[in-house]
C-alpha cells in the first residue's frame, strides 16, 4: 500500500481498497456462510463492494475540493508521479502468459494452509466458538433482544457502534455474532456489527494510523460507520 501511496495513486482509489479489503475476504465469506448462512455472506460481500465504490466517489469529491491535501504522514510523501501509461487502454488487461497453473495453485494453497496466520486463525476460532457457547448459556436472551431485537429502532446503530471496539477478527467475531443472532439479535444489526467491526478492527486501524493523518482516518471511520448502518438497515428491510 505504501508504494502505491508514494507513487501518487489518488486517495479515492486508496480509500476504495482500504474500505473493501478488511470488510471481506474468502475466509470471511465462507465462515459467515457456515455460521450465519449464505444470504448474510452475500449481503456482506455486496455491502463491501458497494461501500468501496461509494467511498471512492465521496473521497474523489473531497479530494477535488482540496480537503485531503498533505494527509500522508512524513517521511512518506506523494512526490513521485505514477509512471505514465501509454494510450487510453490503461485498465487492467489480462496477461495471457500468467494463467494460473495447477502446480502454482497447489503450492499457494499449501503455503496458506501451513502459514502461522492460519494456525492462529484456527486457534482463535476454537477459543471463540467456546466463548460463544458460554455466552449462549450465561447471557439471558431477554437482554440481547432488548438491545438488538428487531423492534428496537436503535439496534442497528448500536450494533455498528459496538462493533468498532469489540470486533477482534472474523474468526473470533463470527461465532459470537451467531450466538447473538440465536439469542434475538436482528439480522440487520448482525450485519452492521460485522461490517463496522471488520472495518475498524485493530489491524486495519493500526495500518491506517501509521501512514495517514487525521482527516483520512476520520473520513474512513465515518464511511465505515454510515455504510454499516445503511446496509444493516437495508438488510433488515429485505430479509426481516
Amino acid at each position: 500500500m505504501i508504494p502505491l501511496l508514494t507513487a501518487g495513486v489518488p486517495w479515492a482509489l486508496m480509500m476504495c481498497f482500504l474500505i473493501s479489503s478488511p470488510l471481506n475476504s474468502p475466509n470471511t465469506f465462507f465462515l459467515i456462510s457456515g455460521a450465519l448462512g449464505y444470504p448474510m455472506a452475500i449481503a456482506q460481500i455486496v455491502a463491501a463492494i458497494s461501500m468501496g465504490v461509494t467511498s471512492g466517489w465521496v473521497t474523489s469529491l473531497l479530494e477535488s475540493k482540496g480537503y485531503l491535501n498533505n494527509q500522508l504522514r512524513s517521511p512518506l510523501s506523494r512526490t513521485s508521479p505514477l509512471p505514465s501509461v501509454s494510450g487510453e487502454n490503461s485498465f487492467p488487461a489480462k496477461n495471457p502468459s500468467s494463467k494460473p497453473e495447477a502446480k502454482t495453485l497447489g503450492r499457494v494453497f499449501w503455503r496458506s494452509l501451513c502459514r502461522a496466520g492460519t494456525r492462529r486463525l484456527v486457534r482463535q476460532l476454537a477459543i471463540f466458538v467456546f466463548v460463544a457457547s458460554a455466552i449462549k448459556i450465561l447471557i439471558p436472551t431477554a437482554w440481547i433482544t432488548s438491545l438488538f431485537g428487531k423492534d428496537q429502532w436503535y439496534s442497528i446503530p448500536l450494533a455498528a457502534l459496538l462493533g468498532i471496539p469489540l470486533y477482534v477478527n472474523n474468526a473470533s467475531s463470527v461465532p459470537v455474532t451467531r450466538t447473538l443472532v440465536e439469542g434475538g439479535m436482528s439480522p440487520g444489526a448482525a450485519l452492521a456489527f460485522l461490517l463496522a467491526g471488520a472495518g475498524t478492527s485493530l489491524p486495519a486501524m493500526s495500518g491506517l494510523l501509521v501512514i495517514t493523518r487525521g482527516r483520512i482516518v476520520t473520513l474512513y471511520v465515518t464511511l465505515i460507520f454510515l455504510g454499516a448502518v445503511v446496509f444493516g438497515s437495508l438488510y433488515s428491510l429485505l430479509c426481516p
Binding site: 502505491l4 495513486v9 489518488p10 479515492a12 482509489l13 476504495c16 481498497f17 482500504l18 474500505i19 473493501s20 479489503s21 478488511p22 470488510l23 471481506n24 475476504s25 474468502p26 475466509n27 470471511t28 465469506f29 465462507f30 465462515l31 456462510s33 457456515g34 455460521a35 460481500i45 463491501a48 463492494i49 468501496g52 465504490v53 471512492g56 466517489w57 474523489s60 505514477l82 505514465s84 501509461v85 490503461s90 485498465f91 487492467p92 496477461n95 500468467s98 497453473e101 495453485l105 499457494v108 494453497f109 496458506s112 494452509l113 492460519t118 484456527v122 476460532l125 476454537a126 467456546f130 460463544a132 457457547s133 458460554a134 448459556i137 474468526a171 461465532p175 489491524p203 486495519a204 495500518g207
Partner: protein
Amino acid sequence: MAFESATVIFKDSAIFFLRLLPYLIAGLFVGAVLEVALSRYKEIGWLKHPGTRAYMMVSLLGVGTPL
C-alpha cells in the same frame, strides 16, 4: 448443575467448531485460487484513471485479497 452446563458448553463448542472447519478450509482454498488469479493485475498503471469502473475493480481486488 455447573458440571452439566460445562458439559453442554464443551459439546456445543466441539460440534460448532467441527462444523465451521470445512468452511475455513474452503475459504483458504478459494483465497489461494484468487491469489493466483489476481496476481496478473500487479501492474498499477491503470490506477491512474479513477472512475466508477476503477473503483469497482479496486473494491473487487480488495474483497478478494485480505489487507
